[in-house]
């Protein structure tokens, strides 16, 4: 099906966010990150650089992590999105969140939501990544505090937890 909307007119979109179908009336120029933060109130997804570099805005879109400051909200029409708010289930932290908790993978926490989404996507594909593979997988996520060392340890710890529970 093709779709056209013009000028300041808006389009009604439906997005599955963290397991819930949500609708919004959006202008084509609205970015996915603003749909999540401003329309849906999910402020765990951050805006850092706003120039596609830092990864503070990373969310999972249909199984892949993306920088939500560089995707239009209309492009997520019909898609499935997971944000940091959707990682814990039934009051239990996601193993990657556990890992960051246990190994001090954060200081200010600004980069953490994006970092966790990227790490979880890596572990989905590769349950036992090497240090190099972890570094390669979080290349798009900048951290100004930790020096990355504890982040790598957090991801390794999460991998262990996930393998144990598998």
């Amino acid at each position: 099906m093709s779709t056209t909307i013009t000028g300041p007119t808006t389009l009604r979109i439906t997005v599955s966010v963290n397991g819930t179908q949500r609708q919004a009336e959006v202008e084509p120029r609205l970015l996915l990150v603003h749909l999540l933060r401003d329309s849906f109130g999910l402020t765990g997804t951050h805006v850092g650089c706003d120039t596609s570099q830092c990864g503070a805005c990373v969310v999972n879109l249909d199984g892949q992590t993306v920088k939500s400051c560089t995707v239009l909200a209309v492009q997520a029409d019909g898609a499935t999105v997971t944000t940091i708010e959707g990682m814990a289930r039934d009051g239990k932290l996601h193993p990657v969140q556990e890992g960051f908790w246990a190994k001090h993978g954060l200081q200010c926490g600004f980069c953490t939501p994006g970092m966790i989404l990227s790490a979880a996507a890596l572990l989905e594909k590769n349950p036992d990544p090497s240090e190099d593979e972890i570094e390669h997988a979080i290349e798009g996520n900048f951290c100004r505090c930790t020096g990355y060392h504890n982040i790598v340890r957090s991801v390794q710890h999460a991998a262990e937890l996930m393998r144990r529970d598998a």
Binding site: R29, L31, V58, Q64, V66, A137
Partner: protein
């Protein structure tokens, strides 16, 4: 930062997309959006309309059958996940694995990268080395353009404004063919300061044919014909490879705040030697 307002079209077929492009001269097509959306946020681009290609399934996919055909909307991530692109196509994985980061590779497309013709993009050099051709469709129908004729200048290709790039074809080549790509990545952006791609045909230890291309150093991706000539017909020993690497330097090279002209010239030579050695090592 927000893009300025635009109309949004989401065609379901190539035909529809071509008709929309014809009817909207101030529109731009949206592929992975990882060059276009940042430019729109900075208001460096203010198209009146976007024609989003992401729902056109016919533009995605890879088929390997002697020659390789890659749909324009195929992402870097899809290139990396395709096990069929081994052997003489290893250069594609070499390059795709180091474009930007995971998130850029999830969205960015081969067709978008080529059509954009950023002087510092990785795949412009890769498709030159592979001797690829692209297919474009416009109001007058389809035509093919050889990679050698495609790159015209900074951000400028031989594609006409009303043409859509639909696929990239890498022709079959006989014999033992090896490839490699290496770049010196900008430490902040990851873009190639200099990137070199090579495709060599080997007869024993002799290089019977060579295609070598550079990106990052020049205003458009360019063949390193002097290096190719220095290799062709030679037994690829250390002296010959050094000669080819030295020959690669004879180019009009751009400098900037990060890498001076002199430094880039040095990188062109070092990386040319490295890529030739890497490719040859894959022949054995």
């Amino acid at each position: 930062m927000f893009p300025s307002s635009f109309a949004y079209h989401r065609p379901a077929s190539v035909e529809e997309a071509v008709a929309l492009i014809g009817a909207n001269p101030d529109a731009k097509v949206l592929a992975g959006g990882h060059s276009l959306i940042p430019a729109m946020k900075l208001r460096l681009a203010m198209p009146e309309a976007l024609i989003d290609l992401n729902r056109i399934d016919a533009l995605r996919g890879i088929s390997v059958n002697g020659e390789v055909t890659i749909g324009a909307m195929t992402t870097y991530a899809q290139l990396l996940d395709d096990a069929g692109l081994g052997g003489r196509f290893t250069v594609i994985h070499d390059a795709a694995d180091h474009v930007g980061d995971v998130q850029v590779r999830a969205r960015g497309t081969l067709g978008g990268s080529i059509a954009h013709a950023d002087p510092a993009s990785d795949f412009t050099a890769v498709i030159l080395a592979l001797g690829a051709r692209v297919t474009a469709i416009g109001p007058e129908g389809e035509r093919t353009i050889e990679a050698d004729d495609l790159f015209v200048d900074l951000f400028t290709t031989a594609l006409r404004p009303d043409e859509l790039l639909t696929r990239i074809t890498i022709p079959a080549v006989a014999g033992t063919v090896v490839t490699a790509y290496a770049k010196h990545a900008h430490p902040a952006s990851g873009y190639p300061v200099v990137g070199i791609a090579a495709m060599l045909t080997m007869e024993g230890s002799t290089v019977s044919a060579a295609r070598i291309a550079v990106t990052g150093a020049t205003s458009k991706a360019t063949r390193l014909t002097a290096a190719e000539t220095a290799l062709t017909g030679q037994a690829a020993d250390a002296a010959v490879i050094d000669r080819a690497a030295a020959a690669a330097e004879g180019l009009e090279i751009n400098g900037d705040a990060y890498a001076s002209e002199e430094y880039r010239r040095h990188l062109v030579s070092v990386l040319t030697g490295r890529v030739i050695r890497q490719a040859i090592a894959r022949a054995t």
